[in-house]
């Protein structure tokens, strides 16, 4: 019990946040750079932007390409990955694209996207997609491909149709890994939307960052950066809650079970 209390994830998280905040405050006071505000100044700037509505307005603007991009990536990513996992031909056709996409520095494609689709919403949505989709697709593919063979055999032995085999056995067995891909993909999607807002046209949170940088209003710039980081972390957490709510299980238990099944 004692050990459990000390290593409780919540306590550890609070502790690590406190450490980072402390180090930030100290570094700001030294100061390591005139362009580096203290935590207190940044927090004050954050409150100010919350009060005058700048942050809410900017978040709303950023949310549009982010939500559209993530929605597209999740729906199509899981569908494409699952299809590739179920069908050798689809895998042969699709996997090279996504394997290259996952390992290449895709931010380099942003100028091409801008050239092709202009500086509007489309380019930004696509930026989110190219960042988020590959890992979602590849995780879904591997998850489906690595369904324990004995479970598939069990389904066949008990006369499951192909459709039921997929919905009742393969997808539930694959879901932990698919969700791991969703968490990674959504985090990459956040990178994508901020990249788009910094590189294509400054809008939303990206606009607060670039504008305040240009007028040397560093506390506001840092407040916007910290805000989008925290927002992204909370979003990824929410996916984990969703997973637990949907499948009502503890991830650790699920994996422990898989490991103890003899080969």
């Amino acid at each position: 019990m004692m050990r459990e209390g000390l290593t409780h994830p919540l306590l550890l998280r609070v502790l690590s946040v406190a450490l980072v905040v402390g180090a930030w405050e100290y570094a700001g006071r030294v100061p390591i750079s005139p362009a580096f505000p203290t935590f207190q100044e940044t927090f004050a700037a954050f409150l100010e932007m919350v009060k005058d509505g700048t942050l809410a307005k900017a978040t709303w603007i950023t949310l549009k390409p982010l939500a559209l991009g993530l929605f597209t990536s999740v729906v199509f990513g899981v569908a494409i990955g699952t299809l590739m996992g179920l069908n050798r031909f689809a895998e042969w056709l699709g996997s090279p694209v996504f394997i290259i996409a996952q390992s290449a520095p895709l931010a380099a494609l942003i100028p091409i996207l801008t050239f092709a689709y202009g500086i509007g919403l489309t380019s930004k949505v696509l930026t989110v997609c190219i960042m988020a989709m590959p890992v979602i697709v590849l995780n879904s593919l591997n998850a489906v491909r690595h369904t324990p063979n004995s479970l598939v055999e069990m389904g066949r032995a008990f006369l499951a149709s192909r459709a039921k085999l997929v919905t009742k056995i393969i997808l539930p067995a694959a879901s932990p890994m698919i969700f791991a891909g969703l968490r990674l993909g959504c985090a990459a999607g956040f990178v994508g939307v901020i990249l788009a807002e910094l590189l294509i046209t400054p809008t939303g949170i990206g606009d607060i960052i670039t504008y305040n940088q240009s007028i040397a209003e560093y506390p506001k710039m840092y407040a916007a950066i910290a805000f989008i980081i925290v927002f992204s972390v909370l979003f990824i957490e929410a996916i984990e809650w969703l997973e637990r709510a949907l499948f009502g299980r503890n991830k650790g238990q699920f994996h422990a079970e898989r490991e103890t099944v003899p080969a």
């Binding site: 324990p148 004995s150 479970l151 055999e153 069990m154 389904g155 066949r156 032995a157 008990f158 006369l159 499951a160 149709s161 039921k164 009742k168 056995i169 539930p172 067995a173 879901s175 499948f247 299980r249 238990q253 699920f254 422990a256 079970e257 898989r258 103890t260 099944v261 003899p262 080969a263």
Partner: protein, 262 residues
């Protein structure tokens, strides 16, 4: 004992294996012209050295593997794939870790489209029969290996198949649990009156639970002998293990198999 012996030849074959061979991709020859009959209502074990293709033969009977040559008939019909008259018990249990005991046991019925209330009533009965009452809502990771295999057995019983195919069901279970399991299996066979085909690599286990033991040779497998242990199973299960007939049969089979090991 005498009566039992005499009644055997008249029992019709539930499963017929005719000239079945299996060559795996890459040229590994697992089975070579196996012809066998499995009488109705009896437990027949397939016994042989490790890797001799016992499991391959069982999975061919189950319709999970297609033979390279030969055919299998179950209840008079040719096997082309899995069928409702056969149920399978897996060596590694093959339980769905995300589902509780109730759903796992009722899964065969769920796939058949049986109504929830109905299939859960049937599943409850078999959960109780295998001694897992009060574990209906437990998940596989909360159960011991022996209990998990009881779930696998209950799932196979719940679909009420005529033939139960068991692939080394107790090999992943510790020795004490295995003994208890074997004893329970004898009662179950007595009660269920199904045709059991049982793959094992344990001579003692085969002799203890079987009406007939089919000895398979090393790969590519052929039938090397069929032994019918002359043991009464009406008495106390512990008595069987001390029965001279049991011990002699075990010894005979060991003498027959010994040269494969060396």
């Amino acid at each position: 004992m005498q009566n039992e012996k005499q009644s055997r030849p008249s029992t019709p074959a539930m499963v017929q294996v005719r000239g079945v061979s299996k060559v795996y991709e890459g040229g590994v020859e697992a089975l070579n012209g196996i012809t066998l009959e499995f009488p109705q209502g009896q437990l027949t074990s397939l016994l042989g050295p490790s890797g001799c293709g016992k499991t391959t033969l069982l999975k061919i009977i189950a319709g999970l593997i297609t033979p390279t040559a030969g055919e299998v008939h179950v209840d008079g019909k040719k096997v082309t794939g899995p069928g409702p008259e056969r149920a399978f018990v897996f060596q590694d249990f093959a339980l769905m870790p995300w589902a509780d005991v109730m759903r796992n046991v009722a899964f065969g019925l769920e796939l058949k489209g049986v109504k929830r209330s109905e299939r859960e009533a049937i599943a409850s009965k078999y959960i109780q029969a295998v001694g897992l009452k009060d574990f209906e809502r437990a998940h596989p990771h909360e159960l011991s290996g022996g209990m998990r295999q009881r779930v696998g057995l209950a799932r196979a019983l719940a679909v009420n198949a005529k033939v139960l195919l068991m692939d080394e069901p107790f090999s992943a279970v510790d020795e004490q649990t295995r003994r208890k399991f074997q004893e329970d299996l004898l009662q179950l066979i007595d009660r269920e009156r199904k045709t059991f085909i049982f793959v094992t690599h344990s001579i003692e286990e085969a002799v203890y639970v079987s009406d007939r033991v089919v000895l398979l040779s090393r790969r590519p497998s052929r039938v090397s002998a069929i032994i019918e242990p002359d043991i009464s199973r009406q008495d106390d299960p512990d008595k069987i293990r001390r029965d001279p007939a049991y011990l002699d049969t075990v010894e005979n089979i060991w003498q027959g198999l010994k040269h494969y090991v060396e």
